[in-house]
Amino acid sequence: MDERPGFGLYVHWPFCQSKCPYCDFNSHVSASVDHVAWREALASEIRRSAAETGSRVIDTIFFGGGTPSLMPPETVGAVIEAARSSWTASNDMEITLEANPTSVEAGRFQAYADAGVNRVSVGVQSLVEDDLRALGRLHSVEEARAAVATAQQIFPRVSFDLIYARQNQTLESWRNELAQALSMSSGHLSLYQLTIEPSTAFGDRFSKGSLRGLPDEDLGADMFDLTQDMTEAAGLPAYETSNHASLGHEARHNLIYWRSGEWVGVGPGAHGRLSLPEGRTATETHLAPLKWLAAVRDEGSGESLRIQLSPEDVREEAVLMGLRLGEGVSLDGLKNVKAINELTELGLIEVASDRVRLTRKGKPLLNAILRQLLT
């Protein structure tokens, strides 16, 4: 992997056809969207950000959401065009769009490719029909398979997501499902354990005790281990906690986050990190879509927060994000020698060539390891 952290653009499209019960992202169901206004606002935000970052070479663009595959391809094209004219584009710029695998959305894939998208990440989530319903998804398994196949014909790089450790899922059924996923995949897979977040439909049901059949910690750990074994055997090892790729197929945009590179965030609720002359700076934009839109139109900026990070914040953030990666983080960022020694002794981390990495045993314990290293 090229280890230059890079510079990317994140574009948040906040709209969905329906809200999934597990999702705590900034997503909204809206009857009508003024696409012209949104297109202009996104382009305007890109131009605003370029004013302070204009000399950079842009490596990646990522359309996330919400559901960016509900964006009109013209909007996607306009955003890419605005980025290309604001920054110098790298030769092999990665442009990713998150897509839902309904047949309608798959029908727009060619138009997205024409607009410049060269990688899609398809939200398959499950290859079990009943489980797709339980997860609140609007597509069928058949549609998902078809959408992945279509995408693989149209885009040079395709990834898809699955959620596991679902209600009533057994180790055997996950083995079976993951085997199917591996046979469908072309270089990249995101495999997430279901997380119950507060203020989601699942979160509410969980706190009322009505979300039954979730795997216990032991089964969750067994599923995680099985996932590592199967993806490694298939040549798609984890390069990050939940992301698996064959060599060279890693998501370069996401690597920018984990390697503490620089990125601009546009759209409602988008975060950014920039290394500016005054120091590393965190930015956020207004969360509510219409508030963001009005702020961009009326005030010329959707930004709601700008904080200069202390050297300590920067160091801790680099560890929080970087230890997720197979390549680990530089030893320079870690000060707690006692914790490093204890964790090494327990076989949970390893130190080599001035880098700290999680061992296979340490990977499922990342949060506990971070607590020990950083608190």
Partner: protein, 599 residues
Amino acid sequence: MTDLARIRNFSIVAHIDHGKSTLADRLIQLTGTVAERDMKAQMLDSMDIERERGITIKANTVRIEYPAKDGQTYILNLIDTPGHVDFAYEVSRSMRAVEGSLLVVDASQGVEAQTLANVYQAIDANHEIVPVLNKIDLPAAEPARVKEQIEDVIGIDASQALEISAKTGLGIPEVLEAIVTRLPAPKGDRDAPLKAMLVDSWYDSYLGVVVMIRIIDGVVRKGDMIKMMQTGARYGIDKLAVLKPQMVDIKELGPGEIGIFTASIKQVRDTRVGDTITHEKRPCAKALPGFKPSIPVVFCGLFPVDANDFDDLRDAIEKLQLNDASFTAEMETSAALGFGFRCGFLGLLHLEVIRDRLEREYDIDLITTAPSVVYHIHMKDGTMRELHNPADMPDLTYVERIEEPRIKATILVPDEYLGAVLKLCEDRRGIQMDLTYAGQRAMVVYDLPLNEVVFDFYDRLKSVTKGYASFDYQMQGYREDKLVKMSILVNDEPVDALSMMVHRDRADARGRAMCEKLKELIPRHMFKIPIQAAIGGKVIARETLSALRKDVTAKCYGGDATRKKKLLEKQKAGKKKMRQFGKVEIPQEAFINALKMDS
């Protein structure tokens, strides 16, 4: 000053929730003592904890003016007393300051153990007692049965009992009339030298120490030089007042009257409850008998969760002691918990109240170690040591025998739960002393070791009787038994704050229960942790807390960095609430919860 014949001094005896504070509120309200707009519930309970728990901790008083049916206006002094056994000493001294009591009994619940203990104190103090059946408006009220019970269990005439509802106000005028007609007027000689009883004292942040007195003979005025007969201290009276219940200055107090004074007294310790106050120049001949001082029976360690809070804890303890001379504190050092205090309390409720006040009023997070009673360690060299802290247990080779304090427990319980109560008492090494019936209820008396009661006996009793049992106790002296010190080892490191004295025959069960409980209370770590109970070098119970297997956030992208950072800050704060024992972190609440047994 008021004519003796027009004074009535009384207290109210009741079990918790039988309506004592509500009745007091009604008496205050009906006589217009407090303007309607200033009324609030539990008028006499000024501490937050009193209002929240619905209990009275400190004695309090109110002076009520009541125009009676005979055309005369009477001064009624109500001393409101705590009901709980921990504060029994407050009750006994308050009782000595008045001539009569209203015995309030819930007409549906009947007599409870706490009522019994307190009414016997009233009888001991030669009170005239007026039985009052409260909550008569409830459908479940059974006045005839409860009257019979009052006569059978307490042995006083209940034929003239008043039937009231403090909640609706029904029968309150009759209560006021009965106070005047049925309770005796105080006696006293206005011309004799001053003789006053020090009933209570407390610290007020504006006035300093405030002393409550009952005048027996003579007259006291503002500016008088007085002498405390036991301590010999002399003071000039700065302020003389009565409580209505707010302070109202008064020129003088004569025989039979109850009031308060201030006299530049620095701390509550300088006043001795039960002391006799007289004039310096013209002292009375003979002091009042005085009271036994209360002594702490339950001890535990209080440590700040954050070691940096130690100085704040010391200041807070000193401030609380200004107001509560019954609570003791000595500095203590624990290998695991650092600097803290070994504190003595009158009972567990007292312990909880003090701990709550330290945490709430002074905002200090505390670790409370296992409560312990005071053991008498008789050494082979013939000396005796008091052991307040199991960690200080001397080497057994020098110990001849160990004695523990025992109590006489009185429990009143409906028939159907009697079996469960007997089992509980037997399990706690109790010896049955008495078992009698009064109607549908049994009264059992047990001789129990205090250490089996201090922690969770009352909770267990409530749970096995669905809250229908009532319980009270008195200290009963010391007895030798087979007592041993049990240590707890977490990841092979002894945790001194968890060590405790137990009976040898119960040590195995107790040790197993402790280990199981700790296994639930200590969060899983990244390695497995043995938890052991041991007597000396011998392990008697063992559990293993298995290692954490999975704790990982599935998704973490650009927008999550800030959130992860905030979580980290929270974890840093949470870590301050943990104590490190070797490589193991133990949450603060584990120290107290580990002792709560399920059976």
